[in-house]
């Protein structure tokens, strides 16, 4: 089937999935037995007259049967009305979109780090299979995901911010996206919302360096979540590739091992890693909730965490839908890229 037809088919399927997510999310918000749906929309502790409560109920169509409510809900969603979050004191969709670039920058860097660190580690483990480096790499990477992330965060802060600082060594910042004093001295005009990109576009080097430094610790903590699987997949893939005939051919031609590995084996072995990079992003979005809280990173994850403490179901549910939508789009993008690359995919 043609490329366009394939894309359209994937688009339709993924829309169906999003619809399914919206049903699940709607059910959580309005349909849970024993939970009064109105509670999510009122700030606890405020005096509210019964009249105000009733008019709110009508406004939210809570007196109608669930399918009707769902219609209004979907209608609202499609028009950009995702409800009002009392945690963010703004509309849910706006609140999430405003904070999205911060999370994307963090998650993206984390994926990058996990690949930059995980790929070489996986290669080494494959090349020295079952010997000490292999065991070491596997233990270290497994250790990485066995830590509770928030625990890891505080340890990173302790070591790289506090202790290094105490010893007078250059140290990394433990909170925020950028040094506030630098931001005041060298203000940034937000264009994309990605600090690294915007500061480079504007030639604002002090801001760039500060933002980069602030990315290191949180991105590293987040990257550990996926690093073990990157290492594992890379190792397995590498082992598979190394057994192929063309590798044997290259070696028999007399090419040195390093060239063989890098020019031939690596390029072929790395594909599965890149496939999973897409789904890894989704896992990282979940982990970002914790990392952003520990490192005071103003992204969507931190907002969601605050929403939970505040019992702001409208926000939490909106966040769920938002993240699902992003995952779906990423999956679509990966599928499309595959379709471009490999015609066999478009069955």
């Amino acid at each position: 089937m043609g490329f366009l037809a394939y894309v359209i088919k994937r688009l339709l399927l993924l829309s169906l999935v999003l619809l399914g997510v919206s049903i699940v999310v709607f059910f959580l918000l309005r349909g849970m037995p024993g939970v009064d749906p109105l509670a999510a929309y009122i700030t606890p502790g405020l005096p509210i007259s019964p009249d105000a409560l009733n008019s709110l109920r009508k406004e939210l169509h809570l007196d109608q049967p669930l399918p009707v409510q769902y219609y209004y809900y979907m209608n609202g969603l499609l028009h950009g009305d995702w409800g009002y979050s009392r945690t963010a004191t703004q509309d849910v969709l706006w609140a999430l979109l405003e904070r999205l670039p911060a999370t994307i920058e963090l998650a993206f860097t984390a994926v990058l780090l996990s690949i930059l660190l995980g790929v070489p580690a996986g290669v080494i483990a494959a090349l020295r299979k079952d010997r000490v480096p292999d065991l070491a790499v596997r233990v270290v990477s497994i250790t990485g995901i066995s830590f509770p992330v928030f625990w890891l965060g505080i340890i990173l802060q302790l070591v790289f911010f506090y202790y290094l600082g105490q010893l007078g060594l250059p140290h990394l910042p433990a909170r925020g996206r950028v040094d506030e004093l630098v931001a005041l001295e060298y203000p940034l005009q937000p264009i994309t919302g990605f600090y690294l990109i915007d500061s480079l576009i504007e030639g604002n080097l002090p801001f760039f360096f500060s933002a980069l430094a602030h990315l290191v610790l949180p991105a590293f903590a987040l990257s550990l979540i996926s690093m073990a699987s990157v290492v594992r997949i890379m190792r397995a893939s590498m082992l598979e590739v190394l057994r192929q005939d063309y590798i044997l051919l290259a070696r028999s031609k007399g090419l040195p091992a390093r060239v063989v590995v890098i020019r031939h084996a690596l390029r072929n072995a790395i594909t599965p890693v890149l496939t999973t990079a897409g789904t890894t992003l989704g896992i990282l979005l979940g982990g970002a909730v914790v990392v952003e809280t520990v490192f005071s990173w103003p992204g969507v994850g931190q907002l969601a965490a605050q929403g939970i403490l505040n019992d702001d179901s409208v926000l939490v549910v909106g966040f769920t839908l938002f993240v699902a939508a992003m995952m779906v789009m990423v999956n679509l993008a990966v599928d499309v890229l595959y379709a471009i690359v490999d015609p066999r995919v478009r069955y």
């Binding site: 065991l135 066995s146 928030f150 909730v289 769920t320 699902a324």
Partner: protein
């Protein structure tokens, strides 16, 4: 024993995990549950010593007892979540793989759950259901079953084409019997490959949920909520975070070591 020699890591992991399970099983018998309610403010936040091997927490309770009681609760919860998720996922996946008509709709449903990152979905469910270990477990089951479903379906699709299945169909064996008596037992490999590591993942996720604020409260000993509660005292009383955190870490590590071996051993397909 050659197995042990060949797979040192996995063997070590298995040994550690079994030890933890034994400890967790004995704990409620050896330690009285009243420890949880035993508040001694004067004793609070004391460092580990001869009477309190892990020190005391912010309620003055013996941390060693709390960590051991939590072992029981956490292991039971994590294991039951994985068992439930596997059961549900395997059945649905087998149905989807074997019965053509059910494949598309069931896979779409699975996709829906797969598009939501686990922590996020668990958060959403728990925020609506309320905080308790049972609700957390329910949320985590919802989050974990789709992977097993997918794995199972993939395996069944392949298995379906094997000669013995066709033979049995000609003999008149019904769908249900075919699925449950023949197909599932032969295709459990990838599921077994994945499950141990999953238990560790569930433990970590429960800890993360407690940190965010979904913990079951101070009267339910659970490793994650012990660590989350200890965060506030991390400089005054680091043992509050170190010991329960180490428990999570060691359990999860041992499971991952076993899981790593399981993956390599049971599912060569996963390598590509």
């Amino acid at each position: 024993m050659t197995w042990v020699r060949r797979n040192k890591l996995a063997a070590a992991g298995l040994l550690i995990f079994v030890a933890i399970v034994v400890v967790g099983a004995i704990a409620p018998l050896a330690i009285s549950a009243s420890v949880v309610r035993n508040v001694q403010f004067a004793d609070k936040l004391t460092a580990p010593d001869a009477t309190h091997w892990f020190g005391t927490d912010d309620y003055g309770r013996d941390l060693f007892s709390m960590v051991l009681l939590a072992a029981n609760l956490d292991l039971r919860a994590a294991l039951s979540v994985v068992v439930a998720a596997v059961a549900i996922g395997v059945v649905i996946g087998a149905l989807a793989g074997f019965i053509e008509r059910l494949d598309e709709p069931l896979m779409r449903v699975t996709d829906v759950f797969l598009s939501i990152p686990s922590l996020v979905l668990a958060m959403a469910i728990a925020s609506v259901l309320g905080r308790s270990i049972q609700n957390l477990s329910i949320a985590l089951v919802f989050v974990s079953w789709p992977i097993y479903c997918r794995l199972m379906r993939g395996q069944v699709l392949i298995e379906k084409r094997k000669p013995y299945v066709r033979a049995l169909t000609t003999l008149g064996v019904g769908h249900m019997r075919m699925i449950f008596r023949h197909i599932i037992p032969n295709t459990l490999a990838p599921v077994v490959a994945r499950a141990p590591a999953d238990v560790g993942l569930i433990l970590i996720t429960m800890a993360a949920l407690s940190y965010i604020g979904f913990g079951p409260g101070p009267y339910v000993p659970e490793w994650g909520s012990l660590v989350a509660a200890g965060q506030a005292y991390i400089f005054q009383a680091p043992w509050l975070v170190v010991f329960p955190g180490a428990a999570i870490f060691i359990t999860s590590l041992s499971l991952n070591l076993v899981g790593d071996w399981a993956r390599d051993a049971f599912d060569p397909r996963l390598r590509s």
